[in-house]
Symmetry: D2
Subunit: 166 residues, 4 copies
């Protein structure tokens, strides 16, 4: 309710680190947002200092970012902002972090080929094969006609907790 939602447009500054765990995968990278503003007097764009954020992405978004994004690529990232202060080695650190809920390559800077995936959560109990479990799996992109039933037709649950296959 009181989340501070923010959308940042910038460039990936460090490689996407992806880590699997029992609670699901998490990706993390640093993100650089240059400040560029129109100068009314000079009549041109002026640069300000770049803002850096640490971006976290969980589950499918984390896995897909790790599979799709390289250092230097431009992204649009939407998520919850928080400013963390912590003590480390007797020094206090502040960091601005974004818990991403959606993200994609910024098409202002180039083109992209998209491939829709379904995503299954890892089965944590021992199984037989399961080699593809927890992996993205290709699915034909669903092409939708255009109106009324769109929401319904596309209706793959967003942000539902991924459930293990039976």
């Amino acid at each position: 309710m009181n989340d501070t939602m923010v959308t940042v447009v910038g460039n990936v500054a460090t490689g996407v680190e992806f880590r699997e765990s029992a609670a699901g995968g998490v990706a993390r990278f640093r993100f650089a947002v240059p400040a560029r503003r129109w100068d009314r007097r000079g009549g041109g764009w002026v640069d300000g200092p770049t803002s850096f954020y640490t971006v976290w992405a969980r589950r499918a978004l984390g896995a897909n970012l790790a599979a799709s994004v390289a250092v230097g690529e431009p992204l649009v990232v939407r998520g919850r902002l928080r400013v963390r202060e912590e003590e480390k080695d007797g020094r206090r650190w502040t960091s601005a972090e974004i818990d991403a809920v959606a993200a994609g390559h910024d098409l202002t800077r180039g083109t992209a080929a998209f491939r829709r995936l379904t995503w299954k959560a890892p089965v944590l109990t021992e199984g037989h094969g399961g080699t593809t479990q927890g992996q993205p799996e290709a699915r034909a992109a669903t092409v939708i006609a255009g109106s009324g039933t769109l929401g319904e037709a596309l209706g793959t649950p967003r942000d539902t907790a991924p459930t293990a296959a039976p």
Copy 2:
């Protein structure tokens, strides 16, 4: 200063129409944003009615959207919101429009391969060859080391008026 910036996450509902003109290219498509919210009582996601927006994208963003996006694909779109009311055939219409400043495939739903492009504006005077003028042109993705000079290194002007090659 008083722009209403908004970020919408949803699906492309109609094909991207792209039109070139003397003032530069413009892309346009309809965008569907399903309402999904967590129901505190029921403890599950509930659907509300889908919101539809008309998205406009100019210059490089318009051209790249037209080249990259198909109906049904999920996008993150950031831009200026306006609600237009107009009279047509004696009836009044309201539409919610977004003038996009950045957009990309939502990697919550799949993976994407990105290709950085530079973009030159069409030369409107007659010339000799000019076969690539007004066309996107591939450039090697710039991989950046990671810190200090990032803003500078990436410094391709955003939102600068594309200038014709001499």
Copy 3:
């Protein structure tokens, strides 16, 4: 999770209507957001068409808006945006609505005296007196309720007070 959050800055266009019901109070008003943008060529602000929204506010926010806001006053409104289309008398209407989560007078345009209130929900079972139940009730302004490390957090060196020039 997939809410489209938006913040609009503009003026109250109709009186705030407030209605009590078993489910709690609801306020509703129309809100006008003028489009003003810096014109790079002309070097001045230019007006575009005004966007209109229907704003809904529930419970304490609704009651306080009804008690505080008059037509023409400037507000900042934050909330969930949705674009509704409905059929009425054989015609289709679109409206842009905002379900407000926070709102206040825009201090860019004037000053405001604030009075903190606590708010009790109506007791729906029968009682004896209860005449003030469901009413706002004045309370002394709480100085940052429940924020233990606050004082500490404020003392960082970067927060030196701006000093007056000699």
Copy 4:
């Protein structure tokens, strides 16, 4: 164009410091944004760590904030976000700053009495009296200044007043 706009809802954590200068007045204060989120499992609100921002406000907004806001009061603040890193005494500090474009008391928490002001910039050349120059000045509330079609726009059928239940 590439500004990162953000809206934060929280409480004023330090007194508003206001400083006049030749370039116009500037106000500055620290702002505390508590993280409160709905816990799906527990079915209640849970607190996370508070995020702190340094808010800057210029000209009329700065002067009015200084005149209207006390420590502990709840605000909605909209502005440009930047994350600054700087070196001081051999240590590196990060701070999250917001350059406010609009702000007001959050009416979720109380009521407010608003007084519209006009604001004149200081005359920097020498003058005679000029005692009110650079000072806010009360003006009768303007009912939607300069919005010709306003009345018309309000009369659309979808805007029927919510009626009381019989």
